[in-house]
Amino acid sequence: MRKTFSKYGAPLAMASVLALALSACSGGSSSGGGGGGGGDASSNLDGRGPITYVQGKDNSNVVRPLVDKWNAAHPDQKVTFKEQSDSADQQHDDLVQHFQGKDTNYDVVDVDVIWTAEFAAKGWLQPLKDKLAFDTSAMLPATVKTATYSGTLYAAPQTSDGGLLYYRKDLVPNPPKTWDEMMSMCSIAKQNNIGCYAGQFQKYEGLTVNASEAINTFGGKIVDDSGKAAVNSSDAKTGLGKLVDAFKSGNIPAEAITYKEEDSRTAFQDGKLLFLRNWPYVYSIASKTDGSSKVADKFGIAPLPGKSGPGASSLGGHNVAMSVYSKNKATALDFMKFMTSQETETFYATQGSLAPVLSSLYSDQTLVQKLPYLPTLLTSIQNAVPRPVTPFYPAVTKAVEDNAYAALKGDKTVDQAVADMQSAIEAAK
């Protein structure tokens, strides 16, 4: 139906909108819900044939060569690559629209770790069990958690990402192991007239990442294993309190409240920060020796500082999942295995600097030579806590963001912020 309509011009479209709209209306308001997850999930399990793989903008050109390789080996089960935009919100919307339309052409989809639970709860993702069971034993446990909802695996981890501590090794010979140790080093920053520490504290997803890291590091939780709000604890208050105190004392410079990833990277790279929490992508940019980075040979990396050992990073990355509406689920499963195989993961890392989900690759010598941050990143991911796996992720992240932001700015106390976080998460139903 979609194709027929888009072929015709706008005038005809407008003439027919009323009729169509009325018929859509008589069915009542059909929002989001995919229903009980049955039906489609049990059909086409043995189907084989051509499928489509949907993913956001392939920035480092890793998907096309992989798809070509697959197609050469599977001439009768060819994969078509459908490339979405590079904006995460728009990728999300595009997937929702196609799932709601029960599109059989969106067979295998790439989903951000934070969308997996939502799509699963809406009944759009094929559970990976029984006939379609997927082996995740070689994968890092934290990444598998992001793909699991209500005790069932709904996706396969594909790439991962974790936070790293970038530090000025010319000023700090040994990186801090704990948060308090790092704070005590801030006098060095003062002597050198630079800011001490920054992460991402603008009110957006990055703040959820940073606030969750602080909370998790000190033993708190955003939600418990069953997905219920569990943030109102003294540990969580301690964690968030550490960030608030650092802002108050100036150890985190005031302008960091406007930082997103790039603002904080720029500040570090311009030599204005002693410590920076950021993702691995910063490593190669800050190492550039063309003069764009003032700290090219002067920085090192370490795991995020924690309470007594490494801190609890939030997890980034993507999972690959199968639509319940796919007609060729057997092919889809094979393709998912191919897209998460050791060979593919190595290719992701070397070609696209995407962190693998297979623990074995982090000690691979050729890989480590190319991506020197891998061993540190492994520590980060091993200690990582996934962001809340909940179908209400947008509401949860808003609850964390809004209240953490208010606390960082001193608009409310830490206790109040954490209590409000708790009730705001509980209000999502």
């Binding site: 309509f5 859509a24 059909s30 979405q84 595009d94 992508y281």
Partner: protein
């Protein structure tokens, strides 16, 4: 047309010429302030558009570190920027919207300007009310509707709601223009034996062409500048420039590419500004038509 008729106000009587005219000096100073206030930010956009990314925050007034790189970035597909595509999309959406609004609206405007009928006041009220309708009140139901029927992200998904504000604007502006036209010609044509329909086609339409053209520019600018509807209902393939600029990608992930955004802004704005300056008088007349009598 009201705004084009200029009435000198300041006294220029010979008696006052003898002394130094402080009033005139104040006028020039004020005019200078207006010029600077209106143009300086736009100038800053263009200067930044030509500045090397490494010197994004250079604060010298004159162009420094001049480069075309930012314009290359804007069109760099490998960075995920499809600006050529976005420009085309804006052209399609704004173009179709304008044509539909004009073709439909011109008849309504004629009726409202020329004919006597009951409910005229009510009809005009409805059309004006429609032009002030908040876009969000359309976006929510259309978001769901288009999702259900698979139109999400299509051109018509933007064109249909865009008509909701361009059509009333078109009718309103055209009505005001039409009332000021020399309709005696129509009367004489009808005395010569033309039907009202013929008189409309042969006499009025040619006369109305300039007014229609001005209205078209206004409608086009309105649709070209639209953001809210497009940001919610467009897709990768149909994304117009306004939304593309808001979500621009730089050379690195997570980057806020100021210089490239300013370059994109320049590309979008300069043709529009030229168009507006060329048709300045007509546009001012169209903007203010109807608001004053």
């Amino acid at each position: 047309m009201a705004a084009t008729a200029t009435l000198p106000r300041t006294a220029t009587a010979p008696a006052r010429r003898k002394r130094f005219d402080w009033g005139q000096v104040r006028t020039y100073i004020s005019a200078l302030i207006i010029l600077v206030w209106c143009l300086l930010p736009a100038y800053w956009m263009i200067v930044t558009a030509f500045r090397d990314t490494a010197f994004t925050f250079d604060s010298s007034f004159w162009p420094t570190h001049v480069t075309w790189d930012n314009f290359a970035t804007v069109f760099d597909e490998s960075l995920g920027n499809h600006f050529g595509r976005n420009l085309l999309n804006s052209l399609i959406v704004a173009g179709v919207t304008t044509v539909v609004a004009l073709v439909v609206g011109v008849f309504a405007a004629y009726a409202l300007a020329r004919l006597n009928f009951r409910f005229k006041f009510a009809v005009m009220g409805f059309i004006l009310g429609a032009s002030m309708f908040p876009g969000v009140a359309l976006v929510t139901p259309l978001f769901q509707l288009f999702t259900n029927i698979g139109w999400m992200g299509s051109y018509q998904a933007m064109i249909i709601p865009d008509i909701s504000f361009t059509l009333p604007l078109t009718v309103y502006t055209l009505t005001s223009f039409f009332r000021e036209m020399p309709w005696e010609l129509e009367e004489s044509a009808r005395i010569d034996g033309c039907t009202q329909g013929q008189a409309f086609r042969k006499i009025i339409l040619p006369l109305a062409a300039p007014a229609t053209f001005t209205t078209a520019i206004l409608a086009f600018i309105g649709a070209w500048n639209e953001f809210l509807i497009a940001s919610q209902l467009s897709s990768d393939a149909t994304r117009p420039v306004t939304v593309a600029i808001a979500y621009f990608a730089g050379a690195q992930p997570h980057q806020e590419p100021y210089t490239a955004v300013m370059a994109a802004g320049t590309i979008v704005t300069v043709p529009l500004v030229i168009l507006v300056l060329v048709f300045q008088r007509k546009i001012v007349a169209g903007l203010t038509a109807g608001a004053v009598k």
